[in-house]
Amino acid sequence: MLDLAYLDWPVYQIPKREKRELLTGRLKALTQHHYDHCKEYASLLNAYGVEVNAINSLEDIPFFPVRLFKTYELRSVSETEVFKVLTSSGTTSQTVSRIYLDRNTAIAQTKALVRIMQSFLGKQRLPMLIVDHPGVIRNRLSFSARGAGILGLSNFGRSHIYALKDENMELDMEVIEAFLDKNRNEKIFVFGFTFMVWKYLVQTLEQMGKRIAIPEAILIHSGGWKKLHDEAVDNRTFKSRLQSVTGIQSVHDFYGMVEQVGSVYMECEHGFLHAPSYSDILIRDPYDWSVCGVNQPGLVQVLSTIPTSYPGHSLLTEDIGTLHGEDDCACGRAGKYFTIQGRLKRAEIRGCSDTHAAVQH
């Protein structure tokens, strides 16, 4: 399982038949690996009567809900081999996921992310403007999802500056203008969480009646659309208003999660999220878990070649998504392309014990 040869696969160029074969082989081997090394995972597969040998397609790879990482410590390496524990942010729920990484998994995550990001950013590191405040990465021991995301992406830039002053999220125009002056003829890499970019860059500039002219810059953002959708802001609005205050043309969202760091799904020039070679998605019908076809929304199952230290190579997310096709996106990238419509609504609180909870709302 230490074989990282798959990282040499071209990121967006493997045609579907070949990709299926490669991925199925790798994911089946990972299934066996976790079956052998994580007794909880083995117990789960036994409960479903899964025969690993009988797996012969991507659809056969067993999956479980990503939420289990919030409650249980699931890993396929001994405690002494754990190199880093990733946790998800606890903003929308009380509990956080805990993901156990050994060195190999951490290395593979980084390498995969490098391959994917470089195909958008180029191999040269670009001057990087981070739409956040420096405090968010100050405590490196507590890897909050936001801090970890910024640290991870920071490797793809140089001469980093933070666009916001501090926890008050005030836009630091002085620092930004100095940074732009210094890198006048360079392509700039802007990174931030979707909501931060919207609220503290776009809306702040609008309110101030100011513009920063960086038409050659590339913005990569992530973190989900929930808050923006609550304000009835869609991707199109986001892009056009961003463009009018910054001039940025090249805007790429990405879909990823702490439970599968590395194999992220980048948004292409046509607004679709793309599966790289190292990962894939299946859309599952929640009614019976059958696999949905093109244009039929369902729950997103994510498959990744990367996780070896924890059994997270095949997970059922709580995101609702739609597959739009495979290998035939107008952007020219091979692989499946899809969109995310939102997140499963929190289950209605029911039950004997709910009077108290219900009246609190």
Partner: protein, 403 residues
């Protein structure tokens, strides 16, 4: 004077001070019996109410003949039973009709009532409240209107304290957490309390009975089980969460299960269970969580409307169970094997193919800490005035002895 932010459901509700100073009504007197009867008739006549089976069964439960039966149970001419005075009801959010059962039982016993209704929006509650509004508008029910304060309010300890300090009996539905909260509000020394804690229920089916059943019998049983389990999305305390198959023969059990579930599947395919994506995911989380640490077998079903898990050792796993059509199954060789399961947290056993006498004998012979009801499958959700081990009318009245 502080201002309390509770909202009376009806405009003409009495002020709290007025309500508590009202003399009690006569238990099962003409006024209260007529009112309950009028309510039952309006419900049965209401096209809106008829679309909800639980409202139909509420109306049926409150019809005149069943109130007469309740009266015979509650009163006894040789003894003097009088209302306690003021009852404070804290209703649950999961079973929309409970506030009426609780309130009307108390009303029939002659008490004045403060009823906290859940603020959770519910079509059923809306229908009920509308019907009562019409009755309250009639002059003949003014005595009842003046003794009824139906309120909604958020999590507010001050209001809990206010109502608790003025009541003679408190009925707390809504489970452990609510009970814990409400109990922070002290009661007057002479008052008493009934609490309805989180409880869980299961079914016991004799395998042989299923194997020998003809199609009609099987169908009526699975229909009855469907109602028990899927009304209230399997989240009422009385909803069966597990089926224990009574047999010492594995083949018989397998045969019975296969017959039962295929008949059940036919039924559920025709139903809109009302379950949604979140329910399916929650069930998957529950089942997979269990599978990580326990030796279980997850059965395949035609859809996620049913989820079934075979357990080697029968256990209710209440901390994981999320309702919504999730069934644990296991086998017992004889009824005595149930005894270790019957903790205080167990409320109802529903059964098929086992004689009533066997249950009586079992429960008389063995001193078990839990189990409140044993009923045939199909009757799990039927409310009764004896509930969770309380004779509710008995608690709602006090007795005066004259020697």
């Amino acid at each position: 004077m502080s201002i309390f932010s509770y909202v009376p459901v009806y405009d003409q509700s009495p002020a709290l001070d007025d309500l508590v100073s009202m003399p009690a009504l006569e238990p099962f007197g003409e006024t209260v019996v007529n009112f309950v009867d009028a309510f039952s008739k309006s419900m049965l006549a209401s096209p809106e109410a008829r679309t909800y089976p639980e409202l139909a069964s509420l109306a049926f439960w409150l019809r005149r003949s069943s109130v007469e039966k309740l009266k015979r149970h509650s009163l006894d001419e040789t003894r003097i039973r009088v209302p306690r005075g003021v009852a404070f009801h804290v209703a649950p959010a999961n079973v929309d009709t409970i506030f009426i059962y609780s309130w009307f039982l108390s009303l029939l016993c002659g008490n004045s009532n403060i009823v906290r209704v859940s603020s959770k929006p519910s079509e059923q509650v809306h229908v009920i409240i509308g019907i009562i509004a019409k009755l309250f508008a009639q002059k003949e029910y003014a005595d009842i209107r003046n003794r009824s304060l139906i309120v909604q309010y958020g999590h507010d300890a001050q209001i809990n304290e206010l109502f608790s300090s003025r009541c003679d009996v408190r009925l707390v539905w809504g489970g452990d957490q609510t009970i814990k909260e409400i109990r922070k509000a002290p009661l007057p020394p002479t008052s008493l309390e009934m609490t309805f804690a989180n409880k869980y229920s299961f079914a016991v089916i004799d395998a042989e009975t299923i194997v020998n059943a003809d199609n009609a019998r099987l169908k009526s049983l699975t229909d009855a089980f469907y109602n028990d389990a899927y009304w209230f999305a399997q989240m009422a305390c009385s909803s069966p969460r597990m089926i224990l198959w009574l047999s010492d023969n594995q083949d018989k059990t397998d045969q019975a299960r296969s017959l039962f579930w295929s008949s059940f599947e036919e039924r559920i395919k025709q139903e809109d269970t009302g379950l949604d994506m979140s329910d399916y995911v929650n069930k998957r989380v529950a089942v997979d969580s269990l599978a990580l640490y326990d030796q279980i077998q997850i059965e395949k079903n035609h859809s996620n409307d049913i989820s079934r898990v075979w357990l080697t050792i029968p256990e209710i796993h209440e901390e994981l169970h999320c309702g919504a059509g999730l069934f644990f199954e296991s086998a017992i060789a004889e009824l005595e094997d149930l005894l270790p399961l019957l903790s205080r947290k167990i409320q109802t056993i529903s059964y098929a193919g086992i004689r009533c006498e066997r249950w009586r004998n079992l429960l008389i012979k063995n001193n078990v800490p839990g189990i409140d009801r044993v009923v045939p499958i199909g009757k799990s959700l039927d409310f009764n005035y004896i509930w969770d081990g309380y004779d509710i009318p008995g608690f709602l009245m006090r007795e005066i002895s004259v020697m």
